[in-house]
Amino acid sequence: MDKKHRPSLSCFLLTSLLVAAFAAAPASSEPGVRARAEAKKLRTVVIDPGHGGMELGAKGKYGHLEKDITLAIALKLKALIEKNLAFGVVLTRDKDVDVPVENRAAVANNVKADLFISIHTNGSRQKAAEGSETFFLSSGQTPDEETRRLAYLENNGSRIEDHVDKPSESDVKMILWDMAQTAYIRQSSQLADLIQAELNSLLGTRNRGIKQAPFKVLTGVACPAVLIEAAFISNPNEERKLATDEFQTSVAEAIFRGLSKYLQIYP
């Protein structure tokens, strides 16, 4: 709610982003739209609060739900970024609603996001499991297929968006979106590393490190993308922490600091 200091600016940013998003999807090959987008140079972070609506995510012993805590953290992070960085922020959901996993990546690609941050709280069947970790994508495929994908990407240029935009090549578009994240693995791992370091120092939770896993939400995202698992809601001690405003603010702050450090490397 800090953003109330400058509601008019953030409102303007959001609306212009949404307008750009809708305009870009069907008619982005139109040179006018492109030129305008270039001229604006408005950079965008997409924040994805995990789960929502009917899909609860992990559940805590005291009844707290992953979907509620991820949304609270996401709203705090949005306020921090809008207050301190020259970035627009788009949320994949700003209330308790269902958003299909593939739509979350589509939101990021439609607004031509520069960074994608998915926020989760972890759950395990091991009662004692605790700590925080940051994931980036592993495709879960065989090395052969991975190599072929990379070769394909190298042969077809590094900027995937240039291909994705052409509406006439809808098949190509699907394929490229399907493998979009593969081109950004190195930057994603760096972003994960920097955010993880801040989670460790600010939260004091056990360091579970950075890891790779085939997360559905990350596969189609055409920009550096990470998924943060801040503490375990399935662990009663950490659930109690996660439910506090103070801890949620610390998670947002940690992500914000990691993000800021990343932007010093890739300005």
Binding site: G57, Q126, F135, S139, T142
Partner: protein, 208 residues
């Protein structure tokens, strides 16, 4: 008199159209009964024939080794680390790898006998395992695997890879594992791990 006759004829006319639908209905019922009889008897005969065909090759090995067993390794979680831990189990052997795979998964769902943590909800149920010629095992779960548990990333990873590693570790013909729910491809079990691609095994998360 003529009028009376005419009246009688009229009555006859009235009677005739009244009888016609009853006759038609009767004919319909009879033919339906015949059809039903043909349907059921025909069906049964076919069933018998199919059973006979299958039971011929099945009977021979079953008679030769009536209590053939084999050992499989199932992968569970431990409370002490984030790795999968193997636990061996005896299951009935044969006739096909898919049959054995179904039995191994049923044991995995039953849970650990050595104090390890079960990675799958106890209500989970395997409908079928199908193994393709190029080594992809399709493990088809009932809806319970999605409905009876709220997954976090860790529990979802553990559920997926306990199945994937248990399959690939014990069955040479299985190179990759695809997870289906109620016969259809699902995006994820609980919003995290991508189920739209078959998984190669990951033994880096197995305790040495």
């Amino acid at each position: 008199m003529d009028e009376e006759k005419e009246e009688e004829r009229e009555e006859e006319k009235k009677d005739k159209p009244d009888r016609k639908p009853i006759l038609a209905l009767g004919l319909l019922l009879v033919s339906l009964a015949v059809l039903i009889i043909i349907f059921f008897t025909g069906g049964e005969r076919e069933k018998v024939r199919r059973l006979a065909q299958v039971s011929v090759p099945k009977a021979a090995p079953a008679a030769a080794e009536p209590t053939a067993r084999r050992t499989v390794t199932l992968f569970f979680l431990s409370d002490n680390d984030d790795l999968l831990h193997g636990e061996t189990r005896e299951i009935a052997a044969g006739p096909s790898a898919a049959d054995e795979a179904e039995r191994a998964l049923a044991e995995l769902i039953k849970g650990s006998t050595g104090g390890l943590v079960s990675p799958l909800p106890a209500e989970a149920r395997v409908r079928q395992v199908f193994i393709t010629k190029d080594g992809v095992a399709y493990v088809d779960f009932g809806r319970e695997i999605m409905e009876k548990f709220s997954y976090g990333s860790s529990s979802e990873l553990a559920a997926v890879y306990s199945v994937v590693d248990t399959m690939a570790y014990n069955f040479k013909s299985i190179k990759r594992v695809a997870i289906l729910v109620e016969g259809t491809e699902k995006e994820t079990l609980g919003g995290h791990i991508d189920l739209t691609q078959p998984f190669p095994p990951d033994y880096s998360i197995v305790a040495k």
